[in-house]
């Protein structure tokens, strides 16, 4: 049939399209007129009219009036069943179907005038075109009428499907449940009855108990594929004009009904969002059944819009942990801010993580645990704060952790750990990590340093503002407007007062010590250096960006190892870090006049100046091993001059300059090759002092801007003199 249709389609297109409407109305008149031939199905006029209607309906759809007229014709039994059924299949709207049509259709089925076969067709048509209905208020009023169709064996599957689409909470009444159950006893376990019952269960879990077998998860099967395709086309026609109102809601509902959750495993780690039957809110107000403000089960919420519309009467799932699976519900849970919710979630999380991860240290199947952790991480990131129960678990787990199971996940969770007083933080997290740190591979070390960086970031960006807001709230109400911004904590935790900046400072010192040793142990591993430099890039901006009352500088072990490293990137980045400390210290000095910063930082200025002097002596001023007259001992002057002589290095003092430094000499060579004539024997010394700026710019072009930045920041004047 579809082949002939396409043939006709082409023909109709060739015909003058302007005549189409008039033409179509003529054909429709043929159907309605009393004297047309009704019996003979091979009648030429009839088949012409039918093909015309078919082609127009499929091309552009029918208007509301045409649709209703044809519906009446087909349902009235004027024509043979085959003709009528063809006509029903043509009932495709140009935009949407008027509700009146659906109501007429229902009443035709009730009247019993159309043959049984046609009734089924009509009902099928209603199911399939349900999404094209403009509105369904009046049709919904006929819910009870349609419900009666389930008594009819042939109508029942489609009636159930239509009811499935129509059902609202107040439709689910005990007597309907009972009738369905009785019917089920008669006809056995049929997927369409299960489908409708399972929806009833969603709305009124205390009225019906049902466990859906895995083989019957698809409730309603689409049989009429071709018809379905036509209707989908019609829907595409109407959707862009209709916008998204109404229609999407129905499609979403349909999707959830037809394609249930795939059978992954026997039992998922995370429970599904089902309302508890015996504890749900409705038990308290059974009398209110049918009222407009009945609560909405969370299973029905699939999109953010739906959540917004019903946020005030949303009924949370019986097992709160199911929100882990749904981003939408997470929003709801986070905005309710009720203690019980976080408590319920906490109990569940702690037990589940314990069971899935701690209790099975030797299990080879980590998929469940991983899924669990992933969801917890998602939720933590969504909340931007650690979940207390999860932290309790982490603390327990770290005592027995081997450092490799679930490593990425565990470290991710640690990076969101709350800020505690340092001794506590040390006992809970840092000490166990330190033990693992020194007996793990360099890559694991890198991951841990990255975790520390993330922890620090979390402390300064989220945790400290939150504590400050809480403290401000305790002191007075003026800051409340500012505090609200950060005080979005889902959990109420009573914490004794502690010096959070002190914790951060000690934390940085802890990490500093850790990485100083690690760099030595791993003999300057490049990747490790990358991570520790990233850490210090953050530390060197704390004062300016996050307004800490102190400045922390890296210890000498790290600074000089970077300076003398054979990796040019490390030198450049360290130079950059040293540069940003200039801003840090000047900002601190500025603030120290008003005295709300820590005075301890003053002691760091001298050692830091030492770093700068050494950097400029070694890299720029060719005084690497010379005793300088400046107060402090230069870093490399500890090496006795005899030892340096014995190395027989030509010009030891400029051996580490930007021109001859082992990490940079390659660039110097490249620079000379580009600037000097060919065949000339190249030596770094060929770069004249006046060309040095060019060379530095060359370095900058090669992404080593740190060196130039350092010289510009700290010794710019001397360079211009030269």
């Amino acid at each position: 049939m579809s082949q002939s249709t396409s043939g006709k389609k082409k023909r109709t297109q060739q015909e003058a399209e302007s005549h189409q409407d008039a033409n179509l109305d003529e054909q429709i008149d043929y159907f309605t007129s009393e004297n047309s031939n009704k019996k003979n199905r091979n009648h030429v006029e009839l088949s012409l009219a039918l093909s015309k209607v078919e082609s127009v309906a499929k091309e552009q759809g029918l208007t509301s009036e045409q649709l209703i007229t044809l519906l009446d014709v087909s349902a009235s039994g004027k024509f043979p069943v085959s003709t009528s059924s063809k006509l029903i299949k043509c009932l495709l709207p140009s935009r949407y179907i008027p509700e009146e049509a659906a109501i007429k259709c229902t009443s035709w089925i009730c009247s019993g005038t159309p043959a049984r076969e046609l009734q089924v067709f009509l009902l099928k048509w209603m199911v399939l075109t349900f999404e094209l209905l403009g509105r369904s208020e009046k049709l919904h009023a006929l819910y009870g009428v349609i419900f009666n169709f389930i008594e009819n064996d042939s109508l029942c599957p489609h009636a159930c499907h239509l009811l499935y689409k129509l059902t609202r909470k107040d439709d689910v009444l005990p007597f309907r449940v009972n009738r369905l159950l009785k019917l089920q006893k008669k006809v056995g376990s049929q997927s369409y009855i299960i489908g409708l019952l399972s929806l009833y269960k969603v709305y009124q879990p205390h009225l019906v108990v049902l466990s859906v077998p895995a083989s019957k998860r698809i409730f309603f099967r689409v049989i009429e594929r071709n018809w379905m395709v036509e209707i989908r086309k019609a829907r595409e026609r109407s959707l862009p004009e209709e916008g998204r109102t109404g229609a999407t809601l129905h499609t979403v509902n349909q999707n959830t009904g037809v394609t249930q959750i795939s059978k992954k495993r026997k039992r998922d780690v995370i429970p599904s969002a089902v309302t508890a039957a015996v504890t749900g809110e409705r038990l308290t107000d059974l009398s209110l059944v049918g009222s407009q403000l009945s609560s909405i089960p969370s299973e029905q919420i699939k999109s953010f819009e739906e959540l917004l519309n019903s946020v005030d009467r949303l009924e949370l799932p019986g097992q709160i942990a199911s929100v882990l699976k749904s981003v939408v519900l997470q929003h709801a849970v986070a905005c309710y801010q009720e203690d019980q919710i976080s408590q319920r979630l906490g109990f569940w999380l702690y037990e589940t993580l314990h069971e899935e991860i701690l209790d099975q240290p030797f299990s080879s199947n980590k998929a469940r645990g991983e899924r669990c952790l992933k969801l917890v991480i998602n939720f933590t990131e969504f909340l931007q704060e650690g979940i207390p129960a999860c932290e309790n678990f982490l603390v327990r787990y770290l005592h027995t952790w081997n450092g490799s199971d679930y490593r990425p996940y565990i470290l991710r969770l640690i990076s969101r750990f709350r800020l505690y007083d340092f001794p506590k933080l040390n006992d809970l997290i840092l000490e166990p990590l330190r033990k693992l740190f020194f007996c793990s591979s360099v890559f694991c070390k890198c991951q841990m340093i990255h975790t520390f960086t993330m922890m620090l970031k979390n402390f300064v960006t989220v945790e400290i503002p939150r504590y400050q807001a809480e403290r401000g709230k305790g002191e007075g109400s003026q800051t409340s407007s500012e505090g609200d911004k950060f005080n979005i904590s889902m959990f109420t935790i009573s914490q004794e007062e502690f010096d959070f900046y002190g914790t951060v400072e000690k934390f940085i010192q802890f990490v500093d010590k850790l990485i100083t040793v690690a760099v030595m142990a791993e003999s300057d591993h490049a990747l490790l250096f990358h991570y520790l430099l990233t850490f210090y890039e953050l530390v060197s901006e704390l004062r300016c960006k996050y307004n800490t009352p102190f400045v922390c500088i890296p210890s000498a072990g790290i600074v000089y190892r970077a300076l003398l490293s054979s990796n040019c990137v490390q030198i450049s980045r360290m130079c950059n870090i040293v540069c940003s400390y200039r801003r840090e210290f000047s900002s601190w000095k500025e603030a120290s006049k008003t005295a709300d910063v820590w005075q301890g930082t003053r002691d760091l200025i001298a050692p830091f100046n030492q770093y700068i002097l050494d950097f400029s002596n070694i890299l720029w001023r060719n005084k690497a091993f010379k005793k300088d007259q400046v107060v402090h001992e230069p870093f490399l002057s500890v090496i006795p001059s005899e030892v340096i002589d014995r190395t027989k290095v030509d010009g030891p003092n400029d051996g580490l300059s930007v021109l001859r430094h082992i990490a940079l000499v390659g660039y110097a060579y490249q620079f000379l090759k580009e600037t000097q004539p060919k065949n000339k024997k190249l030596h770094p010394n060929l770069i004249q002092p006046k060309n040095r700026d060019l060379y530095l710019e060359f370095l900058q072009r090669h992404r080593l801007e740190g060196v130039l930045a350092f010289i510009n920041t700290y010794i710019k004047r001397t360079s211009t003199k030269r």
Partner: protein
């Protein structure tokens, strides 16, 4: 023989010692007092005598009859997080019974819906308050759930599952902490019966009261605590002997476990020499010493270091306890003592007492 494979001079296994040291090296190398943020407590209250006294002041005979339910049966022990919106009144319990019955029915015949009000059910669940477990204020401390199945051809019903939710001692142990009103605490679930209804009942409880129910397991440390605490509790003639069963490392073939049995009087004498009988408080050190003494004694005779094995089952005059969470209470008057201790452990495990 089992012994020689293990290291010769290991007086007591490390794990028990770890918690008693108390000093620990901090990150910067200085010795610092250990701050107990996460560890198990170093002492426990010995509840037996205190509880017994209270019971005997009431009419003990009448009280003991319902408690006989517990005795001489093997239970599986589960720990339960607080139940959300659990109510103890009769109407609620009746509703729970009906709904659980329907649920079990629907699980039995998948795909057939079951109404909430039907009567002809195959499985029948019953929630009731357990008489005999009532605290000072008259609140129930035990809820019994029985599931029975209609037997084909016979009129009677066969009980397929007995489960008891217990909160003995819970109020006392959690006095300090506030929990929002909507929660009811029954930290311990004892269950015995067929696997299927047990699993289904647990799933049902979890889904209806948003809790987690998890099998409790007792590590060697917890088991040694129980032996020490319960050995000297009663001194009457004809008590069951104290028994410790150790599993042997898997590398040893042909020997699966070693059982050490001591007459109750002897064990009691030993315990009394270690523990000061006047106080209710049992210390970690005392427990360690008691176990060490028993193990040294064993080594003296058999040259086997029991401390190198894993303790996996204990028996005292009061109760049998297995590592995998099996429990058999042997004395009616000890029921509360055992339940109290289980409550304590469950609260520790669920992270509720910090």
């Amino acid at each position: 023989m089992a012994g020689p494979a293990s290291t010769p001079d290991l007086p007591i296994s490390g794990s028990r010692h770890q918690h008693s040291t108390g000093i620990y090296t901090s990150w910067n190398g200085r010795k610092r007092r250990y701050t107990p943020y996460t560890k198990t407590p170093k002492s426990r209250k010995l509840k037996g005598k205190h509880l017994e006294k209270r019971v005997s002041s009431e009419s003990q005979e009448a009280d003991d009859i319902p408690l006989k339910k517990f005795v001489n049966k093997t239970w599986y022990v589960y720990q339960v997080t607080p139940l959300y919106r659990f109510k103890q009144d009769k109407a609620s319990l009746k509703r729970y019974s009906r709904h659980l019955s329907s649920y079990l029915q629907s699980e039995a015949q998948k795909g057939i819906g079951v109404g909430g009000i039907e009567d002809d059910l195959g499985a029948r669940a019953l929630f009731q308050i357990l008489p005999g477990l009532v605290d000072e204020t008259g609140n129930a401390e035990g809820i019994e759930i029985t599931v029975s199945q209609k037997e084909n051809g016979r009129n009677g019903n066969k009980v397929t599952l007995t489960a008891i939710l217990s909160s003995v001692g819970c109020r006392e142990l959690t006095e300090m902490e506030g929990l929002p009103n909507d929660f009811e605490r029954f930290p311990v679930l004892l269950a015995k019966g067929l696997v299927a209804p047990m699993r289904q009942t647990i799933v049902w409880l979890e889904s209806q009261f948003d809790c987690r129910i998890r099998r409790m397991s007792f590590n060697p440390m917890l088991l040694s605590w129980m032996v020490a605490m319960w050995t000297g509790l009663y001194s009457e003639p004809m008590l069951k002997p104290v028994e410790l069963r150790y599993t042997v490392p898997a590398t040893l073939q042909g020997l699966s476990y070693i059982t050490m049995t001591i007459q109750q009087e002897d064990a009691c004498k030993l315990w009394k020499s270690i523990h000061n009988g006047d106080t209710e408080e049992v210390l970690n050190e005392e427990v360690a010493e008691f176990l060490q003494a028993l193990e040294t004694h064993f080594f003296h005779h058999f040259k086997i270091h029991l401390s190198a094995m894993t303790l996996n089952r204990i028996a005292t005059p009061l109760a049998f306890v297995g590592k995998e969470g099996r429990l058999k209470i042997l004395m009616t008057k000890g029921v509360r003592t055992v339940l109290y201790h289980l409550t304590e452990l469950s609260l520790e495990n669920t992270g509720l007492t910090a």
